[in-house]
């Protein structure tokens, strides 16, 4: 199975939200990384056929997804950034409703809904109304509805936002189990999640693909560019004007700062092993590098 995005563009009035994006996705987990407004959500909505491209086309195994229509959507699981529900429905009833719209028979829906409510840890509140659910619980409902039709293509927009650490770990494990032989595209602001889940990362900036590569290769691109230094408050204030700054940690003798720079930024700075967060800071962290 190959999902191909060919020179796709999406404009809203004057704004070009997605700018000439071309990607080829085969089985595996892909992470979509980019700052707010980079076009991640718009690209995902184009892939799930909620939005129509202004130019270019998206194909599955060579056939345009708009031509495939229902046959494409039968293979699709989508979790939007903001989960919309019917607040007067119980968790079970809402999942059964989505199952009916996905074409599952009553019997299939019954067993699948029960299985998925167990998987996301909501079996105890299956008959409670969604209007009383917390943000984290609604996201879990969102994850469950995504998996109802056993999709071959999973598009997940910020699936871990609002989940507590334990839920995030549980979700990452679910995704690891599911990822074999499926195309999974996931966007999240939590870079550490991406490091655990995604095999390849797509960096998106101003609607265009900046880079797409395996996580370890991307980390390699910033090797020798990540520095650590212990600074005073005054030094930190002046240095943050000049360089992209990663993690900052308070210490008894000052502030331990990760600095992203092509050259050694300070005399006392020591080169350190980069992590995916440094890749994000390097590509999106500001103009000064």
């Amino acid at each position: 199975m190959k999902l191909t995005i060919q020179n796709v563009m999406k404009t809203f009035g004057e704004k070009r939200a997605v700018n000439d994006v071309s990607l080829e996705l085969i089985s595996g987990v892909y992470g979509l990384l980019g700052p707010n407004g980079a076009g991640k959500t718009t690209l995902m909505k184009l892939i799930v056929d909620i939005l129509t491209p202004s130019a270019g086309r998206i194909t599955l195994d060579g056939v345009d997804i708009t031509e495939l229509g229902a046959a494409y959507r039968d293979k699709l699981g989508y979790m939007p950034q903001e989960i919309g529900v019917y607040k007067n429905f119980s968790a079970k009833k809402f999942l059964k409703y989505i199952a009916a719209l996905k074409g599952l028979s009553g019997r299939e829906a019954e067993s699948k809904v029960s299985e998925l409510l167990g998987l996301v840890g909501l079996k105890d509140v299956a008959n409670k109304r969604l209007g009383g659910f917390s943000g984290g619980m609604l996201r879990r409902i969102g994850i469950a509805q995504t998996l109802l039709n056993d999709p071959q293509i999973l598009i997940l927009d910020e699936p871990t936002a609002g989940l507590d650490p334990q839920e995030r770990i549980r979700f990452r494990n679910i995704l690891s189990e599911l990822s074999g032989n499926r195309i999974v595209l996931i966007s999240t602001h939590i870079v550490t999640d991406m490091e655990f889940i995604a095999g390849q990362i797509i960096l998106l900036k101003d609607g265009a693909v900046l880079r797409m590569d395996h996580t370890e290769n991307l980390i390699r691109t910033v090797e020798g560019k990540v520095w650590s230094a212990v600074l005073t408050h005054e030094q930190f204030n002046s240095i943050k004007q000049l360089y992209s700054i990663g993690n900052v940690m308070q210490r008894s003798d000052g502030m331990e700062v990760r600095i992203i720079s092509d050259k050694k930024p300070l005399e006392q700075a020591k080169p350190i092993q980069p992590i995916l967060e440094d890749v994000y800071t390097y590509y999106f962290g500001g103009t000064a590098k």
Partner: protein, 266 residues
């Protein structure tokens, strides 16, 4: 000549077909089992172009079940009040109100209450999920609005029959009820297009009941409705039905296009 060849010659095949058969004889094509052929057809079938699947393939009662089972107690109370009016009309020939006027006033209330209830509990983002499912979303919303109107008819018909026992001009009653139902339904759908929540529609319902109760009690208004010709009422009914149908289709498409054009949380 073996058995296979004799079978081929027995069939009245044209030259082109024979050419293909002879060409294929050069290759050893392994025989596939029925299961393998079925499996291949199933896989290939999923790649066949199949634009939007009509929502009518999803059983109508299924949508109706989901729609009806989620209704709030307030909605059911509203319907109970309307049915009580019917019971009251059956018991007494209400001298204070004209049965015709009572029916005109209450005719569109279940439909509006249905939509208010639906809008109140519906998160606009849910359309994004519905759009990624297999059925056509516009048709799904047409079906939902049709369910609301069918429900309105189911509630109002017994009341109309009750009213008919004390008001003898049956055709006038039915035409007035259905014209009001479809015309007010048309206005309600116009308001849905503009509104993001149930507030404008709730205000409209309150306005309809209050002004209706005042205006429809005026003797001149009652006389006007009593004297309109049946032909004029039939035309008004036809016009209201057409307006409602057009607006129903437009409203459903609007919900679909709202997300398609980027209106939903980009």
């Amino acid at each position: 000549m073996n058995k296979k060849e004799s079978n081929v010659s027995d069939l009245n095949l044209d030259k082109e077909e024979l050419k293909v058969i002879n060409f294929l004889k050069e290759y050893d094509v392994p025989a596939a089992s029925k299961n393998e052929i079925r499996e291949f057809c199933d896989t290939a079938g999923t790649y066949l172009p199949q634009r939007r699947v009509s929502v009518w393939e999803l059983r109508f009662w299924k949508i109706a079940f989901f729609e009806m089972s989620g209704k709030s107690p307030l909605f059911w109370m509203c319907c109970a009040v309307i049915l009580s009016i019917g019971a009251a009309l059956m018991q007494t020939a209400m001298s204070y109100f004209s049965p015709l006027m009572v029916m005109i006033l209450s005719a569109p209330v279940p439909f509006i209450a249905f939509i208010i209830d639906a809008l109140h509990y519906r998160d606009p983002n849910v359309v994004e999920l519905e759009m990624t499912c297999r059925y056509d979303v516009s048709q799904l919303y047409v079906a939902k609005l049709l369910i609301a109107m069918l429900f309105n008819i189911v509630i109002i018909l017994p009341v109309a029959f009750a009213a008919n026992s004390v008001y003898l001009d049956g055709w006038r009653l039915i035409l007035c009820v259905f014209t009001t139902m479809f015309f007010i339904g048309f206005i309600a759908l116009m308001l849905i297009g503009e509104a993001k929540n149930s507030l404008p529609l709730s205000a409209f319902l309150a306005l309809w009941i209050i002004t209706g109760a005042v205006v429809l009690r005026q003797p001149e208004v009652v006389e006007l409705f009593e004297n309109i010709s049946i032909a004029a009422l039939a035309i008004a009914f036809g016009v209201s039905l057409v307006l409602f149908t057009i607006k129903l289709i437009y409203a459903a498409q609007h919900m679909h296009l709202y997300a398609k054009t980027g209106g939903c949380n980009l």
